[in-house]
Structures are given as C-alpha cells and as structure tokens.
Amino acid sequence: MNISLNITKTIQELLQGFMGEDSAYYGAMITVALIYLAIFAVAGLYLVLLERKVAAWFQLRLGPNRVGFWGLFQTMADALKLVSKELTGTVKADKFLYNLAPYFVIVSSLMALAVFPFTQGFQAFDINIGIFFLIAISSIGVIGILLGGWSSNNKFALIGAMRSGVQTISYELSVGLSLITMVLLTGTLQLSEIIEVQKNGWLIVQGHIPAIIAFCIYMIAGTAETNRAPFDMVEAESELGAGFHTEYSGMKFAYFFLAEFINMFIIAAIGTTIFFGGWLSPFGVTESLPWLGVFWFLAKTLILVFLMMWFRWTFPRLRVDQLLTLEWKYLLPLNLLNIVLMAIMVWLGLTIQF
C-alpha cells in the first residue's frame, strides 16, 4: 500500500491537474475540511451511541435497540430530530453571544482533529508544534461554554459556566504538564515524529514510572477537561439542571453535545498518540501494512474512550472545591515533581529502549 505522506498534499496535487496552484491549495483545504466535518460528525454520533450502550451495560439495561439493527440508527434519528426542532431562547439573552457560543465549542473540537496522524502519513495537517496546537485549540472551547452560560441570562447556566471556566483553566495545566513530561522523552512537539520515536517502544514503556504517573494524571485531567463525570460540575444534573446549556435547544444544543463527545475522542486520541504509540501496532505485528494503523489507532483510542465512560458510569461527582483541591494541591505538585523525575531519567539514560 502506498499512501501519500499527507492527504492535503495529495488532494492538492490532484486538483492542480485542472486548476491554478493557489485555487488548488484552497480547494484542497476546503475539501479536507468538509471530509473531516462529515466523518467526525458521524463519528461523534456513534460515540453517543457507544456511550448509551456502555451506560446500559453498566446499568443492567439493553440500551437503544429499536432504530436499526442493534440501535445503530438511534443517534442518527436523534440528530435528525434535533435539526428539525425549533430554536428557542430566552427573551433577555444577549442574542449575539448567545448564538455565537455553540460555534466556539464545536469549531475548537473539530479543529483539534486536524493534526492527528491516523496512520503513516494519513494526517491532514502535520505541523511542528502539534501538541502545542492541540492544547491551545482545546482551550478555546471553554470560551464558548462561558459565553453560552453568561449570555443566556439564567443563573443556573451562569453557575455552570463559571464552574466550567474554573475547572477547565485549572486542569489545562495538568494536561499540558503531563504532555510536556512526555515531550522530554521525544524531544519534539510534532505528532508524526513523536510516533517515529515510539518505534523503539511506546512512550509509556520507554518512560516507565514517570510515564505511568503522567498517564494517570493525563487521564484524570483529560476527563476533567472534557467536563465529564466525575468532574461534570458544569452540567451537574442534580445540582444545576442542565448547567450552561439549559437555555439551548435544537441544533445549538446538539453542537454542545456533539462537542463533548468529540472532545472525549480527542483526549483519548492524544493519549493514544503520546503514550501508546498512536497507529503503531503492538510489537510491530503489522509493520508491513501501514494502512492497518488506522485500525490500531482507533482501537487504542476506543479503549481509552471506554475507560472514560467507565469513570462516568461508576463514580459519583466531586464537589467543586474538592475538584480544585485535587488539581492545585495534588495533581499540579505531583506533575511538577514528575517532570523533574522524567528529566533526571532522560539525563541519566534510564529509559527503556528496544
């Protein structure tokens, strides 16, 4: 199998055959964006279905099983319903910001998807600051949540939004620092090169003890970053009703909802890329077939997604002050120590290389 190194470049070369260089460049960008949009909107829907099925398995239920075989079209039908629903809102809402908020959230999650290498060269956008880009982009989403909660003129929504602001800003530190710990091993921020490095063993093996600590911190902070239980302060159902999206309906609500699931996928995908070798197969079993990398990437990501769902359906929710205590008093100092530990290890050459 000969897949070109960069799908954007491939499409661009294809388009250059019948249009100018500039228009081919933009044409390729738009085409890739549309493909990603379509694929991940559907993927988000199926993550919702997966969540509902996983929840059902945990809860002695069957889950959706009426629409399509095994309920496969359930979330499609839900999405169609949401599209056709009337968009309601509060009279005294700040209309402009109220309407703008969902787009911040959904755009930030979709943009983050651009940099993931799904297999060798199968990547839309291979920039040399990959991880930095991911951290930066994923923090834009919180603006949408803050705006949505604030502008909808509802106190419950406002409390939810403020909690979200506090939570996301705090946990961003931990996500960033745990990734930096791993960057010490790779020496590069570019995602494709990070995977190259892992051909000598996945980073969680290479970095052993500090890497495992970093992974645990990453999963905790990542779950918090996506505002999922046990850190779902933002929409704590029993406390705030629906939290920041109380006043949203129809497709605008669906954007928030979809963004949550795509964010979950992104957190799992970053985890896979940084800690578990991305599209690399375990022990290099399918090294001769690079296109199987997509399978390995998705399999590893879905395992992490399942882990996050497992958290959600078994843990109670933390209180908002406990959430901050956990981050600032435990995770952050531990993280800083862990970076030092990792630096010493790399310095002394104590990493495991195959």
Binding site: I159, A229, P316, R319
Partner: protein
C-alpha cells in the same frame, strides 16, 4: 488612593429558585436559596405545590376510605401509612386483631421499608452524581413490587390494610417469593457497598457534610434514620412496639456522627435489620383469619386517639378526634418528612450547592408526605 484590602472586594449574594421543577428536589418542593458564589447562606423551603388537603378530606370520608387516602401521602411507605390508620381505628375500637394479621403486617411493613430504602439508595447515588446506582436500587425494588402486586394487587398504593385486619389473605406464593427475595437481596447489599459506600469520592462528598447534633435532632423533632444517625434513639418499633415488633429481635441502627455519611450508613444498616426481622417471621406466620369482623360503618367512640408507627422516613403519627360519628371530627398526620425538612436550613447553611443536594438526599424527603 484607597488601599485594597479584602474588605474592599464585596461579593454579592444572589437568590435562586431550586424547584418546584428541579432534579434534586424529587418532586415539587421549592427551595428559595440565598447563595454567595457557591456557598449557601439561607435555604427557605416553600411548600404548597402538591397540597391536596388530605387531612380535610379525611373529615368527609369514612374510616375505611381514609386508609386509601394515606397511600397518597408517603407513597413509598404506603403500606405502613395504611397500617397506621388501621392501628388507630383498632385502638379506638379496642379491637384485637389476629396474630396472623400482626405478623403479615410486620412483614409487609419491613418489605416496604426495604423497597423504600432501595429507591432512596438509588436516588442518593444519583444526587451525588453516580447515575448507575439508580438502576441497581430499582432492580431490587422491582422484586418487592412484584411480591406486593401478587398479594395486594398494587405496586405503589397498596390499600391492603383495612380496619380490623387485611383485605384478603396473602397469596399462596407470598412466603416463597419473599424468601427468594431475601436470599437474593442478601447478596446485593454488599454490591451496594462496593459500588458506592467505599468510594473515595462518595466519602469525601458525604463525611462531615450537613452535620446534625443530637440536641438539634431532638429540638427540631427529627425522627427516623435522620435522628438515629445523630445518636438519638427514637425507633418507634423499639420503644413503642406495634403489630409483631415485640416478637422479634432486632437492633436499632444508630450512629453518632450525624453527618450525611452517618445517615447513609444507618439506612444501609436498616436494610440488614429489616431482612433479619422478615427472616424471623416469614417461617412462623400463624394460621388463622386474616380479619376480624367490624361494622360496615365504623363509628369511633367519642374521644381523641393517637397512634404512631415507624415509616421508612421516621415517625408517622395519626391523631383522630372523634365525636362519635362515622367521620372523624379532625384528623391530623404527623409526618416525618415535615420535621426533617425543617432541619434543612440549619444543617446546610455554609455548605456548597453540592452539599445541599447530598444533604437533601439523605433526608430522604417525599414531598407529598410533607405537603399533604
């Protein structure tokens, strides 16, 4: 320029309505919250959204009919509510019901308590954010409901007691199914513990939250698991036994901490005690009639009568003033939920919104019981 000290920064208190439609209030309770940021400054319960004037309706109805109304008060302890009215009427008429009736009433009462606590456990988990508990609690409650359905014909509003005994005899399957349930449920309580009790987050959320001292419990008139978690021994079954409770050995579940976790543990302990009570009685249901004959129209002698029972929530008192007619002159229910709700402001001020929800979950409020 003014020097900046902490006093220059004023935080503003604001006011939100929790309810009447809110997931944590489990019904149509409205709480007027005064909040500073996340910290609760004041909680004012506002009642009246489900008031059906049951006490007034009682003055219109005959005593057999009143039994039916009480189902609609604390619908999770409907059997015990029915029993309370029947016991009051029997006390007034000086009617001695057969042993069989007493034992069956006790077993049904304890099954009701288990069912109610199962639902409470599920909802408690849900209030602190663990959604899965709900389904585990309901799985076990469903089995009890099936037993009730077979014997009483109803799953929620039992109407099985009548003054003088029971409406029908128990279903032939009743004993076996109850034994089956007990066997099943004994393996499930440890599962409850594994899922929720030992969880670090759960303990953090509940320990030291909503602390109620013994003195306050007594002065607010708390009863049931809420008061017992503060170390106030007030189990009506123990102190003023009715039906067959004087024939069985059981411990009163007590704790001393008085916080949300203690209330949780008292209820879990009560599940074990209820199982033990049922186990002692289920094999020894005496033979005999399921009812003693009463007049078709029951007229209580002139006077005032009071009987209290222990529902799943605490002490339910039934007070009847009779003028010798077929209707009561005045009927008053002392519901456990009302006194327990009055505590809420006292124990939740200073906590966070999340604490309020957790505290409210362990008060185990059933709103139609508070708002009759």
């Amino acid at each position: 320029m003014e020097t900046i000290t902490t006093t220059n920064f004023k935080s503003e208190e604001y006011f939100i309505n929790m309810g009447p439609q809110h997931p944590a209030t489990h019904g149509v309770l409205r709480l007027l919250l005064t909040i500073d940021g996340e910290i609760i400054k004041k909680v004012e319960p506002d009642l009246g959204y489900i008031h059906r004037s049951i006490e007034k309706m009682c003055e219109r109805d005959s005593y057999q009919q009143i039994v039916h109304l009480t189902d609609r008060m604390d619908y999770l302890s409907s059997h015990i509510n029915n029993e309370a009215v029947c016991l009051t009427v029997e006390k007034a008429l000086e009617l001695e019901v057969p042993e069989r009736v007493k034992v069956i009433r006790t077993i049904l009462g304890e099954l009701t308590r288990i069912a109610s606590h199962c639902l409470w456990w599920g909802v408690m988990g849900m209030d602190v954010g663990a959604l899965t508990t709900y389904f585990y609690g309901f799985r076990d409650r469903e089995m009890i409901n099936d037993i009730f359905e077979e014997t009483c014909g109803a799953r929620l509003t039992m109407n099985y007691n009548v003054p003088g005994g029971l409406m029908f005899d128990i279903h032939p399957n009743f004993v076996n199914r109850t034994k089956e349930f007990i066997k099943h449920f004994k393996t499930k309580i440890p599962e409850y513990d594994r899922l929720l009790t030992g969880n670090v987050i759960f303990e953090k959320r509940t320990k030291g939250v909503g602390v109620l001292t013994k003195e306050d419990a007594i002065s607010f008139g708390a009863s049931g698991p809420v008061a017992r978690a503060s170390g106030y021994s007030c189990d009506v079954r123990k102190h003023h036994p009715y039906s067959a409770y004087n024939q069985v050995n059981f411990n009163e579940a007590l704790a001393t901490e008085g916080d949300t976790f203690a209330r949780y543990q008292v209820r879990i302990q009560e599940l074990w005690e209820s199982i033990s009570i049922i186990e002692q009685l289920i094999d020894n249901i005496p033979e005999g009639d399921h009812k003693v004959a009463t007049n078709a129209v029951i007229k209580l002698p002139k006077g005032e009568y009071y009987q209290k029972v222990e529902t799943a929530r605490g002490e339910l008192g039934v007070f009847v003033v009779s003028t010798g007619t077929k209707n009561p002159y005045r009927m008053k229910f002392r519901s456990p939920g009302f006194s327990n709700l009055s505590l809420l402001n006292h124990i939740s001020v200073g906590g966070k919104i999340g604490d309020l929800v957790a505290t409210m979950a362990t008060l185990d409020l059933v709103i139609p019981d508070i708002d009759r």
